[in-house]
C-alpha cells in the first residue's frame, strides 16, 4: 500500500512537471546586464564577433554604467533571444539611453523590466501560477508520503526554484499544535534537507512496546517518556493565497563574474562591484561608475575579458495559506506488571513455589489523535536567466610606474681596460599584471604586441671626458709649480728651456650603455585595495656594458684621501624602460633624446640627485608613473622613477715621469718621456681640445699599462755613434716624446749634465695641493764608482741635479761597461709606482793640453 502511494505521488509530480513544461511561462524572465553608457565617448571600442561582443577599453577609462534589461540575452554563448527581444519591442519599451546595441539588439531600462512584471502579473496571479506550475489551487490535501521535499517540490517546475518558510498558524482542519519540534524555516530552498525539518513518517525511527506481550510501534520520541506516532502527513491547501514577488531595480546586483583570469584584475567602481560566482553578493545598482585602471589583456582573449554580469532576483510567486499537516498519536511511557508464574501449593496447602511477577515497559497512547499543521510560505521562483555578460578587455596605456635598479656587484669597478660588463636587475613596477607575458595578436583594430623587445631598456651613466687646453712657453718653474700634463720641448731646434704642455678640465658626459640579454625572469602580481591584481613587479635581467674603460683621471676607490680625485667623482647609472608593450616610463623620451652621449653639467658629480634617477637634460628627478596609488604594497621604493646605481674607479696607473737632460756643453735640453698615455694621445698637447667619446676607434690606453711602463725605459743606445753625433753635433735636441723612441743618452765624459725630473700622476695631475698626485720621487745616478741616490720633494720637482760622468764607459769595441744610468722612481698615493730609466753612455778618450806661453819672474826681491 505504501509503495502504491509513492507511485501515485511520483505520477502526480511527473504529470505536474510535464504540464508545467508545456505551460506558458511569464513573458520574460528577469534578464539584466550592466552596460556602459556612451561607451564610445569614454574611449571604448566595441568589438562584435558573431553573436557576442566585447569592449576594448584603454587603461584609465572611467565610464558610467547602468543596469539594464537585456531580453536578448547578449553574450550567453548561444544565440540571441530574438523572440523575447521582439516582444519588448512590440510592447513599445524604450531603449536605455546611451546604451549600445550589440549585434543590433539594444537594452531596455531595468525599471521597465520591474514594472513589466508588476503590471503584467496583477489580477491574474492565481491563474498565472496554475498556468506556469500546473499545480491546482483549490483546497486540497496532498499526501506527503514521499516526504516533505518531494511533496513541496511539486510547486516548482524545472528551471524554477522554490523556497519555504514557516510562518506560524494552523489550518482549520488541523488545528492542533503538534509535539513534533518543528524548526522554523526562513526562505530555505526546498531541498531534501527539509525532510528532517517537517514531521513525517520517516521521522518515526524509534520502536517502543505498546503491550505487555511485546507488540511494538515506530514512534518519534519527543522525550524519554513521551513519543508520537506521525501519520497521514501532507500538504494542505486551504484557501490558498498567491502573490507575485516584488522586483525592485535596486535588487539587481552587478558583479564581476569569477572564473577566468581577468576576473582577478582589480576594477574600480562606485559602488564597488565584487567578484562573485553567483552574483548574489553583487553590488546593487542601477548606476555605477567604473574605472578600468588595470590592464587585463594577457594574450588569451577569452581569459582577458572582464565579465560584468547582473544578478537578477528571481521572479515568481509567494504562496501562503498552505500548511504542512499531519496527525499525531501521543504515547506516554508506562509499565505493566503481571504474574508470569503462579504460586504452587502442596496438598497440605503449603506454598511450594511462590508466584513470579514481571514488570515491563509499555507505552500507552493518550486518548485521541491530534491533527496538527504548520502554515508555510512557499516561494516559487523562476530564477533570472543568466543574461550573459558584458565583457571588457582593458589594454595597457600607461608606462611603468617605478623601478629599482641594481647592478651586480652593487658598485662595480670600471675595468682597467676595455669595456666593463656587469649583470643588472631592473625591478619594474607596472600596472599591467601580465607584464611578463609575450604575445602579438590583433583584436579589432588594435594590435597587442607585448614582448621583452618592447622594453627598449636603456642605461645611462656619467663619464668624464676632458677639455684640454694647450699651454706654451712654459719655463722650468712653470712646469714645476703650474700643474701640467705631459710636457715637451716647444722647439727642438731652439736651445731654450721652453716647453709646451696642456691642462685638462673634466667634462662630465652622459653616455648610453650597451644593454644586452634582456629577459623578464620573474613577475609578481601586486594586489590592489580589493586584493585583486592591480599591477605587477617584474624582474628584468640583463647585462650592461660600459663602453668606456676606467676613467684615466678619476678615482674614487682609494683608501687614501689623497689617492682620490679631487673633487671626488661619482659615476652614476640609471635605467629607463618601457613596459613590455612599449609604453615608456616618465620622461623616457626626454632621456632617450640625448642620444648616445650628452655633455652636460648635470653629469657632474655634484649635480643632480645622489639617490634618484634624474633627467640628463635638466637634472630634474624622473617622477613615478601614473596610478602608483593603485598598488598599496609596491615592493620597491616609489618616491621617484628609480634609484641610481654607482660605479667605482680605482687608480692602478702609476705616475708618469719625465726627465729633461740639459747638456751644458751643447746647451741642448733633451726631453725624455713618453706619450703613450691617454692625454698625450687625445690632447695632442691641448690642440685637440675635447673629445667626448673614447669608445670609437683605438682606445689610447687600452691595455697599455705595461706598454707605458716599457716606454719609460730609455735604454736604446744601439746606435752609439749616431746618437753621439746627434746629441753633440746635431742641430736639434732629442725628444723621445716627439720621436716616440726609447733612445738613451750619449755624452762625453767630463761633461756636466743637468737633470730636471718631474712626475705627475693621472690622478690630480694639475692639483698642486694634491702634490700632482705624486707621493714620492726618488732618483739614482749610477756612475762608475757607485750610485748617487736622493729624493725629490714633490714641491721641489724640476730642481737642477748636476752630474758629471768623468769616466767613459764605452770601450773601443763599443761595449758598454759599467752601465751608467739615471733611474727615477715615482709613486702615487695609491701605491702605484713606476720606474724611469735613462741609460747613459759616456765617451771620451783624448784630452790634449798644450802650453802656449810660459813666463817667470822672481818675486821675492
Amino acid at each position: 500500500m505504501f509503495y502504491m502511494k509513492r507511485l501515485w505521488i511520483l505520477l502526480l509530480i511527473s504529470t505536474l512537471c510535464s504540464v508545467s513544461i508545456y505551460a506558458c511561462s511569464l513573458p520574460a524572465e528577469p534578464c539584466a546586464a550592466v552596460v556602459p553608457i556612451n561607451s564610445s565617448g569614454a574611449g571604448m571600442e566595441m568589438i562584435t564577433e558573431g553573436n557576442t561582443f566585447f569592449y576594448l577599453v584603454p587603461q584609465g577609462t572611467t565610464a558610467s554604467f547602468r543596469t539594464v534589461w537585456d531580453p536578448a540575452s547578449h553574450n550567453t554563448g548561444g544565440g540571441l533571444l530574438k523572440g523575447k527581444y521582439d516582444w519588448c519591442i512590440k510592447a513599445g519599451i524604450a531603449f536605455e539611453p546611451g546604451a549600445d546595441m550589440p549585434n543590433g539588439y539594444g537594452y531596455f531600462p531595468a525599471s521597465a523590466m520591474a514594472d513589466f512584471f508588476e503590471i503584467q502579473g496583477k489580477g491574474n496571479v492565481v491563474e498565472a501560477f496554475t498556468r506556469t506550475t500546473g499545480v491546482p489551487t483549490e483546497d486540497a490535501f496532498i499526501s506527503g508520503d514521499l516526504g516533505p521535499y518531494l511533496t513541496l517540490s511539486a510547486f516548482a517546475k524545472p528551471g524554477q526554484e522554490s523556497e519555504v518558510s514557516t510562518i506560524g498558524g494552523t489550518a482549520t482542519e488541523y488545528p492542533d499544535e503538534g509535539l513534533f519540534p518543528l524548526a522554523g524555516l526562513s526562505n530555505e530552498p526546498v531541498e531534501p534537507a527539509i525532510d528532517s525539518v517537517f514531521p513525517n513518517q520517516l521521522k518515526s525511527n524509534s520502536t517502543v512496546p505498546i503491550t505487555f506481550e511485546g507488540s511494538t510501534i515506530n514512534v518519534y520520541k519527543v522525550s524519554d517518556n513521551k513519543a508520537i506516532q506521525i501519520m497521514n502527513e501532507g500538504l494542505l491547501i486551504e484557501d490558498i493565497q498567491i502573490d507575485l514577488t516584488d522586483i525592485e531595480v535596486s535588487d539587481y546586483k552587478a558583479f564581476v563574474r569569477s572564473g577566468n583570469e581577468a576576473a582577478n584584475v582589480e576594477i574600480e567602481s562606485s559602488p564597488q562591484i565584487p567578484l562573485s560566482i553567483t552574483g548574489e553578493d553583487g553590488a546593487p545598482g542601477p548606476d555605477y561608475t567604473i574605472t578600468f585602471n588595470i590592464p587585463t589583456f594577457n594574450g588569451d582573449k577569452e581569459a582577458s575579458k572582464v565579465k560584468f554580469k547582473v544578478w537578477a532576483p528571481g521572479a515568481g510567486f509567494e504562496i501562503t495559506h498552505v500548511y504542512w499537516a499531519w496527525e499525531e498519536k501521543v504515547f506516554n511511557k508506562d509499565s505493566e506488571t503481571r504474574v508470569t508464574t503462579p504460586a504452587v501449593y502442596d496438598a497440605s496447602g503449603s506454598l511450594v513455589t511462590p508466584e513470579v511477577k514481571t514488570t515491563k515497559e509499555v507505552w500507552k497512547q493518550e486518548p485521541g489523535i491530534k491533527k496538527c499543521s504548520e502554515q508555510l510560505k512557499l516561494k516559487v521562483i523562476k530564477p533570472a536567466r543568466e543574461a550573459g555578460s558584458t565583457d571588457f578587455i582593458v589594454y595597457d596605456t600607461k608606462g611603468p610606474i617605478a623601478a629599482r635598479f641594481t647592478t651586480n656587484p652593487a658598485e662595480q669597478s670600471f675595468a682597467e681596460t676595455g669595456q666593463t660588463t656587469m649583470p643588472f636587475v631592473l625591478e619594474v613596477l607596472d600596472t599591467n599584471p601580465y607584464f611578463k607575458e609575450a604575445f602579438n595578436t590583433t583584436i579589432g583594430s588594435f594590435n597587442f604586441n607585448q614582448s621583452v623587445d618592447n622594453l627598449k631598456l636603456n642605461i645611462y651613466y656619467t663619464y668624464p671626458c676632458y677639455q684640454f687646453s694647450s699651454e706654451g712657453g712654459l719655463s722650468m718653474d712653470a712646469l714645476k709649480t703650474g700643474g701640467y700634463g705631459l710636457a715637451d720641448l716647444e722647439d727642438l731646434s731652439n736651445k731654450t728651456a721652453s716647453f709646451k704642455s696642456y691642462k685638462y678640465e673634466p667634462k662630465w658626459v652622459w653616455k648610453r650603455a650597451k644593454v644586452t640579454g634582456l629577459s623578464i625572469s620573474a613577475s609578481t602580481k601586486k594586489p590592489g585595495s580589493t586584493g585583486r591584481h592591480a599591477g605587477s613587479l617584474n624582474t628584468i635581467n640583463g647585462t650592461v656594458t660600459i663602453q668606456q674603460p676606467r676613467p684615466w683621471h678619476q678615482c674614487n676607490d682609494s683608501t687614501s684621501a689623497d689617492g682620490k680625485s679631487s673633487p671626488e667623482p661619482k659615476f652614476k647609472l640609471f635605467a629607463i624602460s618601457n613596459d613590455s608593450q612599449g609604453l615608456p616610463c616618465m620622461q623616457y623620451a626626454s632621456v632617450f633624446g640625448i642620444g648616445e652621449s650628452l655633455v652636460s653639467d648635470t653629469a657632474k658629480p655634484d649635480a643632480g640627485s645622489d639617490s634618484e634617477a634624474f633627467s640628463p637634460s635638466d637634472g630634474s628627478v624622473i617622477p613615478v608613473g601614473e596610478l602608483l596609488d593603485k598598488i598599496p604594497s609596491p615592493g620597491i621604493p616609489t618616491s621617484n622613477w628609480s634609484n641610481l646605481a654607482f660605479m667605482k674607479a680605482k687608480d692602478e696607473i702609476a705616475p708618469e715621469i719625465q726627465v729633461v737632460v740639459f747638456d751644458t756643453r751643447t746647451n741642448k735640453y733633451h726631453m725624455f718621456g713618453t706619450k703613450e698615455n691617454v692625454d698625450a694621445n687625445f690632447s695632442n698637447f691641448g690642440s685637440n681640445g675635447f673629445d667626448d667619446d673614447y669608445s670609437s676607434g683605438d682606445l689610447p690606453y687600452l691595455g697599455k699599462k705595461d706598454a707605458i711602463d716599457g716606454e719609460h725605459k730609455f735604454t736604446d743606445i744601439t746606435d752609439l755613434n749616431g746618437l753621439f753625433d746627434t746629441y753633440l753635433s746635431g742641430a736639434n735636441a732629442i725628444s723621445t716624446v716627439a720621436d716616440d723612441t726609447n733612445v738613451g743618452y750619449v755624452c762625453q765624459k767630463n761633461n756636466r749634465l743637468v737633470f730636471y725630473i718631474r712626475a705627475f700622476d693621472n690622478i690630480n695631475t694639475c692639483d698642486a695641493s694634491k702634490k700632482f698626485g705624486v707621493s714620492s720621487i726618488d732618483y739614482t745616478i749610477q756612475d762608475k764608482d757607485g750610485a748617487v741616490s736622493d729624493s725629490i720633494s714633490t714641491s721641489d720637482m724640476m730642481k737642477a741635479i748636476e752630474h758629471v760622468f768623468r769616466f767613459e764607459n764605452i770601450d773601443a769595441g763599443g761595449a758598454v761597461s759599467p752601465e751608467y744610468s739615471l733611474t727615477v722612481n715615482a709613486s702615487d698615493f695609491n701605491g702605484n709606482s713606476r720606474e724611469f730609466k735613462l741609460a747613459i753612455a759616456v765617451m771620451g778618450r783624448k784630452l790634449d793640453i798644450r802650453t802656449l806661453e810660459e813666463r817667470r819672474k822672481r818675486i821675492d826681491d
Partner: protein, 204 residues
Amino acid sequence: MIETSFNWLQGGPSLLPNRKKIVGLRKGMAIPLVLVFCVCVMVFASSLALFRKESKQQNLGNVHFLQANFMAQSAVQMMLLKLSAFPQEACDAGVLSLGYCPFRGIIAGSEVSPNPASSNSDGLAQFFADCNSTAFPIKVPGLSADWKFAVTDFKVISAYTNPAERQLIISAQITSEGETRLAKGGMDVRKEEMIKTVKLTREN
C-alpha cells in the same frame, strides 16, 4: 895661463944668448923680481880664490832659483792635472768669471754676449784653491816647511765648445808661486812666480 907661466920660468932657448951681460944687471933685480913674482902669484892666487868664491855663490843662486822655480812648476802641474781631470768645472768657472752663465756652454761660432755684471771669479778661485802645498803638503824627507808652492791665480781666457769638432776648448792662464829657503850662501827665501798659458782641448 898656468902652463904659460910654467914655460916662462923654465926659460926658453930663444932667451938664453944674452945671459952674461944681463948677469950683472941681475944682482939687484932678483928680489924685486921675486917680489914681483910673489906679488903676482899672490894676486893670482887671490883672484883665483875670489873667482872661486863668486862661482860658488852663483851656483847657490842658480840652485835656489831652480828650487823655487820647480816649486812654482809644481803648482802649475797640479793645476794642469786638475784641468785635465775637471775640464768642465774649469770651463764653468772660467765662463762665469767672464760673465757668462756657467750652465750654458759657449758654442763656437755663436754670438753670446757676456754680462760683466754677472762675472764672478769665485769659481776660479775655488778651482785652484787647493792647488798648493798647504792643501797637499810636500812629503819629501828633510825638506823644510818653508818650501811652498801655490797657484795664485787662474784665469780662463776662453772656453767654448765646438760641437762640430766635438771639442771642448779652454785657454787658461795659470799663475803660480814657488818658494824655497836656502841657508847656504845667505840665500834665505826665494820666490818664483810662473805664469803659464795653456790650451786644453777635450775631444773624442
